[in-house]
């Protein structure tokens, strides 16, 4: 393509880039202009590139899925983390530069995932035996659900790193190490389809976050770090027990050990065991989300964590809870998930959306307030999952991304003021809009995204979730009252967010300490720019996100619907059973470990019961 063609094809991106460079006032540095221009041009390019065009679906020849792409995404930060250990700690720029390069390559590589049409089923699947005697495999794959969460991770972590290097001045080497390790763990957890592997990554990311809070945190950091660790650990241990029970049951049924998620999806546990295992898994995830009443670790962890840690914690780590609930709790135990959905939705609304919002309103520490607002926002995500309609689940996944973007931005913004004043008490502020107008504008934009004003990202997700709730069959007679409760949440969101905005930015500028605060620095504005742009991109063009997750969500939803029905119907009081393979879509089972001996009891329904009579019995 000649340069002229390039200009003609991508003129909106070039125009947007020039516009972005013009936005800062006259005395702005070249770095800021170039940075903002670059970010705007890239964002525009991103939208152009993903824009659905006529015939694109047919024309898109399936490009080769490079099987090692996911390995690269997981391994790169992990290897990078190891490499950081060999860089001398005095070479600060090298440490930072190396981290940027690793995270940058990760982000660019993750964009590759978007080139593949996200049809139902697994993509970029890679399987390798790890511990064959126990049936543990290295099995990673991506679908339309994890796609956006992986992208969110690779998108937010570099921003968090960039912002952190502005405020963290001690132990840079350790910070780089923790950051890269965290990145690897999170991506791995989003991609793992082997329960053992998932558990490894799930625990792996706990360690660097523990360090981040414990080393670079605030005054009470050690206590908060331990609380964070113990809460999450308590859940994961239960999950481990349930995983082992599930694997053992599967081994009893088929004679093969496997930790493979796809294979284990076929197991229908006895009723009581099903319920126990569902709770063991879900409790681990609910703690991570966090759902009421296991949410109290979150405000403490956020308040003590450094800005970068808070951003990653809120933007990505909490999503692991919601993602894992969607993938594993709903996938492995659809029966109890379906039976309990109306009750759990009630908890999500009362304990999350309403309670979280009301408690947020009463917080005087801005960071604590934002942390409680996370509880409220993730209540919407969980509600979307409990409603189990394609709409609600799409809304939930989009809301996960939204929350990552807007709450990530909010934490960055709180970090900005904390760096200047070393306090986050709202009473210390007031009238900041006069001294820090750009900061105020950005804060206001992010606030309205968080409140869910249409045109910003928050609206689309909440809207889909609310509509999905009303049309949900799972919630049955409660759908109406749940909808009312969830919709009432939008009022409270305005109450607490506007409260903090008014207290901080409006009114007279009374506190003399605030009189000469500098506005956003170049680094801060460049870190915030992509997040603010994404707020509008998702708000105006959600289709480019929803289209890529739609097929996977439909597959997941249909499977959940069918299997939950089967599980409720066939679950026995005492025997575990194996669902026939044809209950599942072949796209889902692609990559399942195959048995060598061909005696698999593949008959369904009554036949399988007969076949199971002999060997399918599991004694306790």
């Amino acid at each position: 393509m000649s340069p002229l063609d390039f200009v003609f094809q991508y003129w909106p991106a070039i125009g947007a880039g020039i516009l972005g460079a013009l936005v800062p006032r006259g005395d702005a540095s070249t770095k800021q202009r170039a940075g903002l221009g670059f970010i705007t041009a890239l964002t525009t390019l991103f939208v152009i590139w993903l824009w659905p065009t006529e015939g694109a679906a047919q024309a898109a020849k399936v490009p080769g899925e490079w099987p090692h792409l996911l390995n690269l995404l997981i391994a790169l930060p992990l290897v990078g983390a190891a490499a950081v250990l060999f860089i001398p700690r005095q070479m600060l720029s090298l440490l930072r530069g190396f981290t940027y390069v690793v995270l940058g390559i990760g982000f660019v590589a993750s964009l590759w995932l978007l080139t593949v049409p996200m049809t139902a089923g697994w993509h970029f699947q890679y399987i390798k035996d790890w511990m064959p005697t126990l049936g543990i495999r290295y099995h990673v794959a991506i679908d339309g659900i994890s796609l956006w969460l992986v992208l969110l991770t690779t998108f937010v972590t570099p921003i968090a790193a960039y912002a952190s290097f502005g405020s963290i001045k001690t132990r840079i080497k350790e910070f780089c190490f923790a950051l890269l390790l965290l990145q690897g763990g999170m991506i791995g957890a989003f991609l793992a389809l082997d329960l053992f592997l998932f558990y490894v990554f799930w625990e792996l990311m706990l360690v660097p976050m523990f360090l981040m809070i414990g080393i670079w945190g605030g005054a009470d950091r050690v206590k908060a770090a331990i609380k964070f660790f113990l809460y999450t650990m308590a859940g994961s241990v239960l999950m481990l027990a349930a995983i082992i029970y599930l694997v053992w049951t599967h081994q009893k049924l088929t004679g093969d050990f496997t930790f493979d998620y796809l294979a284990l999806s076929r197991v229908v546990l006895p009723k009581s065991a099903q319920l126990l295992c569902f709770w063991a898994f879900s409790l681990a995830f609910f703690i991570k989300v966090p759902m009421w009443p296991v949410h109290t670790w979150l405000p403490d962890a956020h308040v003590q964590a450094p800005t970068g840690g808070s951003v990653i914690l809120a933007a990505v780590m909490l999503k692991l809870g919601t993602y894992a609930y969607m993938r594993f709790s709903m996938g492995l135990f659809p029966g109890p998930a379906s039976n309990l959905s109306a009750n759990l939705a009630g908890v999500a609304i009362l304990g999350g959306i309403l309670y979280g919002a009301l408690v947020a309103w009463k917080q005087r520490d801005v960071k604590r307030l934002v942390a409680y607002s996370s509880v409220a926002h993730l209540g919407f995500v969980m509600l979307g999952l409990f409603s189990a309609t394609p709409m609600g689940m799409q809304g939930a996944v989009l809301q996960m991304v939204n929350h990552g973007v807007s709450t990530g931005a909010l934490f960055l913004l709180v970090g900005v003021i904390y760096d200047r004043r070393h306090t986050r008490e709202v009473d210390e502020f007031g009238g900041l809009a006069k001294v820090m107008p750009i900061y105020a504008v950005v804060f206001l934009i992010v606030t309205f995204a968080s409140v869910g004003v249409p045109g910003t990202n928050g609206f689309v997700g909440e809207f889909l979730v609310i509509m999905g709730t009303f049309l949900s069959e799972r919630l049955g007679k409660f759908a109406g009252i749940h909808t009312v409760g969830a919709a009432a949440g939008v009022i409270l969101a305005a109450v607490y967010m506007l409260y903090v905005v008014q207290k901080m930015f409006f009114g007279p500028l009374t506190n003399p300490k605030n009189k000469h605060l500098p506005d956003l620095t170049v680094r801060e504005s460049l870190a915030l720019a992509p997040l603010v742009l994404m707020i509008f991109v998702i708000g105006f063009f959600p289709a480019i996100f929803l289209d890529r997750m739609k097929e996977s969500i439909l597959l997941h939803h249909n499977q959940y619907k069918v299997v939950s029905g089967q599980a409720i119907l066939f679950a026995d009081e005492r025997d575990a059973k194996l669902l026939p393979e044809d209950t599942f879509s072949p796209a889902f089972l692609k990559g399942m470990p195959k048995k060598e001996q061909p005696e698999a009891p593949a008959a369904g329904g009554e036949g399988s019961q007969a076949a199971l009579g002999g060997e399918g019995k599991v004694a306790q």
């Binding site: 006032r25 109290t296 309609t389 394609p390 009238g431 249409p454 609206f459 009303f470 009022i491 025997d575």
Partner: protein
């Protein structure tokens, strides 16, 4: 014209993009580059954006397909996202716009009045440092408002709906340095959000029943909403008889409570009523109706042009627009229509009563707006959608004119007083007619228009609404042979009519009260200068008022400051244009004299109203001219009374009323203290709830989950630590105790067995296997084969016939010749399972034989009951 038509086909009418894009561009440029552009640049950008938008809107209006069926012009921008309907069908939500006669008229109002107000503001705000910010917000508001009126579906309407709320928030709090303004903005946004909550719920219900959010399809499928929904008891709550059946032994007090809450049979309403009420909640929030009107009077904290544009002419009428837009839905529910009409009527008279004694000129106009919005809701509530909408149209002109006139007055007063509150107080005005003639005349004409003086604009629209209320009723839609759930009572319309007439009288009274106090009599503004310190910038150009006010110099303070003066042309020109419209706009739909071009244009929009809205009685149409009498009398009476009280008697009767009934006067002046009521009830409750939750979060949840568990672990740690003394004697003693315990256990025999009853139901076979132990021998009783002595048979297999119960006894003897006994009862259910036999209560202290795949005994009552032990 034809060329334009060819350029813009009706289904891809890209001119709408121009209408929308120009204000958005203006907002962006002014917001981001405004400070660099300078005031002239900002003014040029803002005015040309709105001007261009107005021209495009005018072209759209002219290109609108004419004819019987009406027509729409549509433009789809892009696919926003898609939803799923009840049957799982895809419901695409596009960023799409379509324009029919009603939205085209609204577009003209928004861009036209908007342009005039932009022009006015360019002078009014000229000294403000936030000039560019102001115009960015104002342009953004116009964009959002245009999105609202042009939206093709509810979701896009909601974008505009919240967008205008957002701009309103920003503009009310424009002077955010004052806490009061910021609070007013926040209040407006939150109260609007309560309404938006209703709109969200309404959208969910509409999606469920009509399977679409597009207005065209909602209106077409509105009959699907005639589905009865049980609203109480909801969820799993039973109706009273079910509860009684489930709880036969409940005591009387409990029963009484249940009787209070659970109905005899479920309360049913049509889904259309739910949608209508939810939507009206949204409309009430935006259009400041009871119970959500409280934000609008506070919203006057914003700059006056904002009050004119947003809080009088355009945004607040969005609720009326919404009801008219979804008229087909409302027509499916006479109950919802009646709610709209009655609450509109109540708002009209309630707000008018507050307006009677307010001192703040803008507050008077604000309550007047609330009251006039009430009239509009009466219109759409009684099915006179065109009339209600027409009042939106005329009200936009005269109320904008009144606000801008008030702004002009305040501008002049502010030059003297430099205090926002005092410069708006009509007690400080008076006699301004000789200083500001243009403002005075336009204000007067608009007062005539709003008071309903024939043949000005307000007369035609208000009279039409009241006449429709008087003469028509809403027929319930037919649902098969079922009785309608609610019918429109015949007295309702007449009641609304008479209340409306009283409200109209009050309107005339308070408007002319404001007029006379502002423009007639002596200028009282001289007096308040006394306490005012002359700022440093010296004397104004024509200060040192008149010689006849020299007495005020006596108290020492100088009589400084400029005298009030007429505003510049950029401010008076919009006043004059608006006044012309306030006078003549009525002839666009003057039904009694059959000049109604707008009416003809609008009628295709409301075709469905023709069947559902019928005359109340035979021959009532002959009363049209006579029923105009009370309306005219209201104008004459109200105006006359105001003239007598404030022009001829100088306000003395108001003073005497204040003395005669001070409590009532205070109450009305304090706006019936509704704000205080809300603060105490709603806000107080939510606040208390939040406090309780916050405390519970800290002490209860965190206390139990984190602190208590930590305390328990610490406790056990402490207790167990005491054993770890490091002394050999203690360890030795513990070991001896432990060994003794194990020894005792081994010496005692344990008659335990597992029961496998998996084949009991099918084959009647039960396997009982006793637990092994050191030197155990077993003796079984009741197994069929009698056993005299202890043997080594550890497992017995017994057969049970249907309906039979067998008692099996197990004796165990161990190596120390000690014996223990355990018995089991095995019952095989008869043919009709479950058997009616009452479950045999478990003997306490027995252990249900566990494991071996057995099911818990409580789940199989009467099957197996271990009885007795040892």
């Amino acid at each position: 014209m034809e060329a334009l038509k060819a350029q813009f086909p009706a289904t891809n009418f890209t001119l709408l993009a121009v209408v929308l894009a120009l204000p958005l561009l203006g907002a962006f440029v002014n917001g981001v580059f405004g400070k660099r552009l300078g005031k002239a640049g900002v003014r040029l950008m803002a005015l040309s954006a709105l001007g261009g938008s107005f021209i495009a809107a005018l072209a759209t209006f002219l290109l609108l397909p004419k004819g019987e069926g009406g027509g729409t012009l549509a433009w789809t921008a892009w696919r926003w996202f898609s939803l799923n309907g009840r049957m799982g069908q895809t419901v695409p939500i596009d960023v799409a716009f379509s324009v029919d006669a009603m939205s085209a008229t609204m577009m003209l109002v928004v861009t036209g009045v908007g342009f005039l107000i932009h022009l006015y503001s360019s002078e009014y705000m000229v000294k403000d440092p936030g000039y560019h910010r102001f115009f960015a917000y104002l342009n953004l508001f116009c964009f959002a408002m245009l999105t609202l009126v042009m939206a093709d579906n509810m979701a896009v309407l909601f974008v505009g709906w919240e967008g205008v709320g957002l701009c309103s928030y920003l503009l009310i709090g424009f002077w955010f340095g004052d806490e009061k303004n910021a609070t007013a903005g926040k209040k407006a946004f939150i109260v609007n959000r309560i309404g938006d909550f209703g709109l969200l719920v309404a959208m969910a219900i509409l999606l469920y029943y009509t399977g679409s959010l597009r207005f065209a399809e909602i209106n077409a499928n509105a009959r699907n909403l005639l589905d009865p929904v049980t609203i109480w008891p909801f969820g799993n709550l039973p109706i009273e008889s079910q509860w009684d059946a489930a709880n036969p032994g409940a005591n009387a007090a409990y029963k009484a409570i249940v009787h209070l809450f659970l109905p005899e049979k479920g309360v049913q309403v049509y889904a259309s009523t739910l949608v209508g009420l939810a939507m009206f909640l949204g409309a009430a929030g935006k259009s400041a109706q009871i119970p959500l009107y409280v934000w609008l009077p506070d919203a006057m904290a914003g700059p006056t042009p904002v009050s004119a544009l947003i809080h009088a002419a355009t945004m607040v009428t969005a609720g009326v627009y919404l009801v008219a837009r979804t008229s087909a839905v409302f027509l499916m529910s006479p109950a919802a229509m009646a709610t709209v009409a009655v609450l509109g009527c109540a708002t009209a008279i309630f707000a008018a009563s507050i307006g009677l004694f307010q001192h703040d000129l803008k507050k008077v106009l604000a309550y007047s707006t609330v009251s006039q919005l009430g009239f509009m809701f009466i219109g759409v509530g009684v099915g006179a959608f065109a009339a209600g909408f027409f009042h939106v149209f005329t009200h936009a002109f005269f109320k904008a004119c009144l606000f801008l006139g008030a702004g002009s007055v305040i501008h002049a007063m502010h030059a003297r007083i430099h205090d926002t509150d005092k410069s708006q107080d009509i007690r400080n005005m008076g006699g301004l007619k000789k200083f500001m003639p243009i403002t005075r005349w336009t204000f007067l004409l608009s007062c005539f228009a709003i008071a309903g003086a024939p043949p000005l604009a307000g007369f035609w629209s208000k009279d039409e609404i009241l006449w429709r209320a008087f003469s028509t009723k809403i027929v319930a839609p037919e649902v098969g042979r079922l009785e309608p759930l609610w019918t429109w009572p015949s007295w309702l319309g007449q009641g609304i009519y008479w209340v409306g007439v009283v409200a109209a009288t009050m309107t005339a009274f308070y408007m002319f009260r404001a007029y006379f106090l502002t423009f007639h009599g002596e200028f009282r503004g001289w007096k308040i200068v006394a306490g005012w310190k002359e700022p440093k910038h010296g004397h104004g150009h024509d200060d040192h008022g008149h010689d006849d006010h020299h007495d005020h110099h006596d108290d020492g303070a100088p009589l400084e400051g400029p005298k009030p003066h007429e505003s510049p042309l950029a401010m008076t020109l919009p006043l004059m244009v608006l006044a012309v419209f306030a006078v003549f706009a009525g002839f666009l739909m003057a039904e009694p004299i059959h000049i109604e071009p707008l009416g003809h244009m609008l009628s295709p929009v409301f075709t469905r109203a023709h069947d559902a809205v019928v005359l109340r009685a035979e021959g009532v149409e002959k009363l049209m001219w006579p029923m105009m009498g009370p309306g005219v009398a209201a104008f004459l009476g109200g105006t006359g009374a105001a003239m007598v009280v404030y022009l001829n008697k100088g306000g003395a009767p108001e003073e005497s009323f204040k003395k005669a009934a001070p409590g009532l006067y205070r109450l009305i002046y304090d706006k019936w203290r509704i704000d205080e009521l809300y603060d105490a009830v709603v806000v107080g409750m939510v606040d208390a709830l939040a406090d309780i939750f916050t405390a519970a979060d800290k002490w209860l949840i965190d206390g139990v989950l984190a602190k208590l568990t930590a305390a328990i672990v610490a406790f056990f740690g402490t207790v167990l630590r005491t054993f770890q003394t490091g002394r050999v004697q203690v360890y030795g003693a513990a070991m001896a105790l432990g060994l003794a315990g194990v020894g005792f256990f081994l010496v005692r025999p344990h008659a335990e067995a597992t029961v496998d009853d998996s084949k009991l139901r099918s084959a009647g076979e039960v396997v009982i296997s006793a637990a092994p132990g050191p030197g155990y021998t077993y003796r079984w009783e009741g197994t069929g084969t009698e056993q005299k002595d202890f043997g080594v048979v550890r497992e017995v297999r017994i057969n049970v016939n249907p309906g039979e119960t067998k008692d099996v006894k197990l004796h165990v003897r161990n190596a120390f010749a000690q014996e223990a006994t355990q018995s089991f009862a095995v019952t095989r259910p008869g043919r009709g399972f479950p058997s009616s036999a009452a479950p045999v209560p478990l003997v306490p202290g027995t252990v249900v034989p566990a494991g071996g795949g057995s099911i818990p005994a409580k789940d199989i009552p009467g099957l197996i009951n271990p009885r007795g032990a040892q």
